[in-house]
Symmetry: C2
Subunit: 352 residues, 2 copies
């Protein structure tokens, strides 16, 4: 099969790789679409110790079952492979499973990712593509589940209904935009500020999200004024912005992980009773809820997604890296669309 | 009146000071007992920007009403003076009131503290000494309310009942011991580890608290094993210990504030979904619950408190500072006990 292989820092090579082998309880998926995640970028920058080259990255994925139980079905994959019987797995917190493996990761066990024509996955991680969700857009289910989990986690500790809250979203990437869309369209919050230094990205976000799109220096980011702050970037500076912006008694949801450690103002966190929650991935229930959300178009149009051929994936990584890309999400397509994607609505969309 | 005045870094002078003036809506309290808090120590070290010398410190206090509405009554004071009508005050989160003032603090408004023979306080901050609580021990109500608030806050975000949790308490001072006692005797947790480098203190704690008392290097502090960690110290190193010890999906309650900022492992906090909650003070309801707890001796004997004359208060501060003091709490007594404290049970106890 062809695959986009991460071979070293800032290097991706589109080349021939061995096909995945069908194992018991698993299926082989013909990948139709696979999104580039912030964590893939992190690996690309050589900063993710869990992703060691050579490795096929990618874990946001839709496709058709090529071999296995559900052969021929159009599917979306939950890339989080968990043990199924530890305390976490038994209490609906599968994302905390100590033996969790993710597609496109090297540790704790290597599992090749979905920037390829084929990928293997346990059957229990396969979900049927729900009606109303375009197979090409379906990889967005994964980051949407991340955002949904983050928003729900934040909501669970707020002292007032989230729709009455003033919300700050730091970062206009996919996770930031998705948190914003969920908070706005599903949770019905009306006071949302989204902040990003990249004007082009902000413009895209503001087309789809009812929020104040601002630059990090904007006077609209008033200190001590936000009930909840989503830091989808995770830099020392964004954490500083988050703790400054959050209101006494408020909540910071820490989703991004660009800088893994750094200084933090524990004085304010303590004296003002700030709750900081780190969040990563989602539960199986979150993933199911997400498919329902997307199937019913509850977060609106997904036209903010950009599509590229997998073979040109290295260029997409470069553009995200140098900030010349305005789309909050790029999805890579491994097969020639007109040959391999059969949904008529889809074929029409390609030529628009 | 006589008072112990903080006149500069590591300097306290017992001297004559002006009596407080009776204002409308306030009372003058004849202080019978006043505890030394970690935050007083922080001021003593010249590290609390809200406590500027010269200032009478002290905010854990019991006494009798000398002038005012409840004249003659034995009372305990809630030293947290709030505005009473902001959003926080109206929603039972008075401790977050932006205009909050604490006894023995310089900012946002100077209010002389209780290391003195007399102190003034708004009437709404005065609680009658409950039956069963010794007036000499009653200042412990304040740190007990702090600990109760912290434990309840932690409990509210746990994914399982707190009595089934493995609990780590960092710090064997009053707040650490009180958190431990509440978690053990009220919340019925059975797996508690309390850690402090001061062996003498640990010995005192272990007499009263059913917990494993250990040194910070102990192998009993297993990484990723505690459901909830109370950091009652708030040093960079204790925060590091806390994040290492806490289990995936677990909670850190940050109560101490020795180092106001510092590095933190946001990588683990994010990948393992750790909740960190800063906590400070307590609500009015917490204070009332605490009086009930103490009145009904729900946290057991308070014999771990040590008493000193206020005039020798400077020595007590020195002993706490240099670690030669084993008591988790020292309470200062401004009046000669046999002349001024009339409760018979109390007089008996003095001579025990």
């Amino acid at each position: 099969m062809h695959a986009l292989v991460y071979t070293g820092t800032e290097t991706l090579v589109y080349r021939e790789e061995k096909n995945p082998i069908l194992k018991n309880g698993e299926s082989i998926i013909k990948v139709k679409a696979s999104g580039i995640c912030g964590s893939d970028m992190h690996a690309y920058h050589g900063k993710d110790e869990r992703r060691i080259p050579p490795l096929i990255l990618g874990h946001e994925v839709s496709g058709t079952v090529d071999e296995g139980k559900f052969k021929g079905k159009e599917v979306v994959l939950n890339p989080l492979i968990t043990c199924g019987h530890c305390d976490y797995c038994s209490s609906n917190r599968e994302h905390l499973c100590e033996r969790r493996i993710i597609l496109g990761i090297s540790k704790p066990m290597e599992k090749q990712g979905s920037f390829a024509e084929l990928v293997s996955i346990p059957d229990k991680n396969i979900y049927e593509l729900p009606k109303g969700l375009d197979i090409k857009e379906a990889p967005i289910a994964e980051p949407t589940a991340v955002a949904l989990h983050a928003v729900d986690l934040g909501e669970s500790v707020l002292s007032k209904p989230i729709n009455e809250c003033k919300v700050l979203v730091i970062g206009g990437g996919a996770i930031g935009l998705l948190c914003g869309l969920i908070v706005s369209k599903i949770k019905k919050a009306e006071e949302i500020v989204i902040v990003d230094p990249n004007k082009k990205r902000l413009n895209v976000c503001s087309k789809y999200l009812k929020a104040d799109p601002v630059h990090p220096n904007s006077p609209k980011i008033i200190n001590n004024s936000f009930d909840i702050v989503f830091d989808t970037v995770g830099l020392e500076i964004t954490r500083q912005d988050a703790i400054e912006a959050v209101k006494p008694g408020g909540t910071i949801i820490h989703i991004g992980l660009t800088q893994p450690s750094g200084q933090f103002d524990f004085r304010k966190a303590t004296l003002q009773e700030i709750t900081l929650i780190g969040t990563y991935c989602y539960t199986n229930k979150d993933f199911e809820k997400t498919l329902d959300i997307l199937s019913n178009k509850k977060i609106g149009s997904l036209d903010w997604i950009e599509f590229r051929d997998l073979k040109n994936g290295a260029d997409a990584f470069k553009e995200i890296h140098n900030g010349s890309c305005s789309a909050p999400k790029i999805i890579l397509l491994p097969w020639k669309l007109n040959n391999n994607l059969t949904q008529p609505t889809f074929v029409i969309r390609i030529f628009l």
